[in-house]
């Protein structure tokens, strides 16, 4: 029950595909409370990541994740670039030299990534950001592992918690990011960043379920 390097590559590819499929949807969400670019930004970033994949396919997981982070930093821009860039860079630091990940390794890597996002963006739970999907998802992952769930179950719980967290952003009034400029008018809309974070964890659950 481990996540191999090839599975990590597959996850990144699956996430890139999901972002491409949901590009217009994410942009629509961002049009309602932001500036209509989140889908285009993430898609541009992960297209660049895909073009780097051949170079990194034989590297360790840490190097792969760090390369994804650096590529996102240089190609996404906006708030999403530094935040997702930091998430992947930090997760990469935690997995340096590893050729496979146990559930525990993944819990630690994701935690490092989320801590990086918090440090960079200073958002708290309930501010209507990607943090609202990531933090409950990580908590569910950790809880599942402590309860002795297997990898597949734990990843499913994680993705489902991310989905709930994403939906729970709808009534919130944004306190961080561009949506905060709308004040009360930001309520009633789902946060685009929380949505792209859910897609990331859903991709992991889909691809690693049967690892």
């Amino acid at each position: 029950m481990v996540i191999t390097r090839d599975k990590v590559l597959e996850w990144i590819k699956r996430y890139a595909d999901l972002l491409a499929e949901n590009r217009d949807y994410l942009t629509q969400l961002d049009a309602a409370i932001g500036d209509a670019d989140h889908g285009a930004n993430m898609d541009r970033g992960f297209k660049a990541v895909l073009s780097k994949m051949p170079e990194i396919a034989d590297k360790d997981i840490g190097t792969i994740l760090k390369t994804v982070g650096m590529t996102l930093l240089a190609t996404v821009g906006g708030a999403g670039g530094p935040l997702y860039g930091t998430l992947f860079l930090q997760a990469g630091m935690k997995t340096t030299g590893k050729m496979e990940l146990t559930l525990e390794d993944w819990i630690n890597a994701l935690e490092a990534g989320i801590t990086g996002v918090k440090n960079r963006g200073k958002a708290e739970l309930g501010d209507k950001t990607m943090i609202d999907a990531l933090v409950p998802a990580w908590n569910a992952l950790k809880q599942a592992a402590e309860n002795g769930s297997n990898l597949g179950e734990a990843l499913d719980r994680c993705a489902r918690a991310a989905e709930e967290g994403m939906k729970a952003t709808i009534p919130l009034v944004a306190r961080k990011g561009r949506a905060s400029y709308l004040g009360e008018r930001s309520a009633g809309h789902q946060d685009p960043g929380a949505t792209s974070s859910y897609l990331m964890l859903r991709a992991a659950a889909e691809v690693w379920r049967d690892a």
Partner: protein, 333 residues
């Protein structure tokens, strides 16, 4: 979508290519990473002044690069902040040994990307100061939010800091000018129409023919409130009152009054706005000693206006009057 473009993904690159062909006497354009830089950069011993932001606000920032204003500008994708590698390369390209000022508009993305770039530049031994412009009174300021947006004052900061750098002032002194603009400038904007981001293909929001958005930013985002369209004078009152109330003006103060077009509003209307804004400022005892009227910080083809008031002192007036030669703003040379 009806636009004079070829392909949405080529918009920024082709615009930059056009600028490079149009203004070889003033600027150079560097691609991958993208930045516009003053033709004679780095100017030895002079503080470099850098700004950047999403594209779609032209002439800001690339069109404000030249003598007496910005040394370089980093354009992002349309309405998307540029990335740290662009900012780092531009910072290096304009570092004449006296350090570089980053003029940053207060948006989460811009701040985070500029922060990372400043860290990287410092790690390479370049002195960097950053000043964050956050002048939009439409947004309530609060410790717990992202704070106010950076809008019209940015253009004024770029002019004044560029002039100060041209005079050979130190990095700290140039940054002090920027901080003064940050403290003494206030803005508010409104939209008559939305705008269409090329890669999206349809307007960011729908605005019925008889309605307007008050308190918009510069990214085609909806504003704080939507209401029925009113005559120009009433709209100007709605923009001017919050600006004047917000501090730091008092009767007798000298101000610069900047009436900005959002991209799709003709000059004829901007003068109607200026007329009323000038009257209101005067009624409050403010003395309008300088002005700027035109579309300088835009939101693609959005129709609408923003008004900026900047309190001026003697030094700032001199810096304002100093010669400037950029594609978008020129006088005195």
């Amino acid at each position: 979508m009806k636009k004079l473009i070829n392909k949405p993904e080529d918009v920024v690159r082709e615009e930059l290519e056009g600028m490079a062909l149009a203004h070889p006497d003033l600027i150079r354009v560097h691609f991958d990473p993208n930045y516009v830089v003053r033709v004679d950069a780095p100017v030895k011993g002079k503080v470099g002044v850098l700004s950047g932001g999403g594209s779609g606000h032209e002439p800001m920032h690339g069109g404000l690069v030249g003598i007496g204003m910005l040394d370089a500008a980093c354009p992002g994708a349309v309405f998307t902040s540029p990335t740290p590698d662009q900012m780092l390369e531009a910072t290096k390209a304009i570092n004449g040994g006296a350090g570089v000022l980053h003029i940053v508009k207060n948006y989460t993305g811009d701040i985070m990307n500029f922060e990372m770039a400043a860290d990287l530049a410092r790690a390479e031994g370049i002195e960097v100061e950053s000043v964050i412009i956050d002048d939009d009174v439409a947004v309530q300021d609060s410790l717990y939010t992202a704070g106010r947006r950076g809008v019209g004052s940015t253009v004024l900061a770029e002019k004044l800091c560029g002039a100060a750098a041209e005079q050979g002032r130190s990095l700290k002194e140039v940054a002090d000018v920027c901080r003064k603009v940050k403290d003494w400038g206030r803005s508010m904007g409104m939209a008559l129409t939305s705008c269409t981001v090329p890669h999206v293909g349809r307007p960011t929001f729908d605005l019925p023919e008889d309605e307007m958005e008050i308190g918009i930013g510069i990214h085609g985002e909806p504003g704080r409130t939507r209401m029925k369209l009113k005559p120009a004078d009433e709209i100007v009152e709605m923009l001017m009152e919050p600006i004047i109330k917000d501090i730091p003006y008092k009767p007798g103060d000298e101000v610069l009054l900047f009436v900005n077009g959002m991209g799709g509003t003709p000059l004829i209307e901007l003068y109607i706005v200026y007329r009323k804004a000038h009257q209101i400022a005067t009624q409050h005892g403010l003395k309008v000693v300088r002005n700027l009227i035109g579309s300088y910080i835009t939101s693609l083809e959005m129709a609408g206006t923003s008004i900026t008031l900047l309190k001026m002192d003697e030094d700032m007036i001199k810096l304002w009057d100093a010669p400037v030669k950029t594609p978008g703003l020129r006088w005195g040379m």
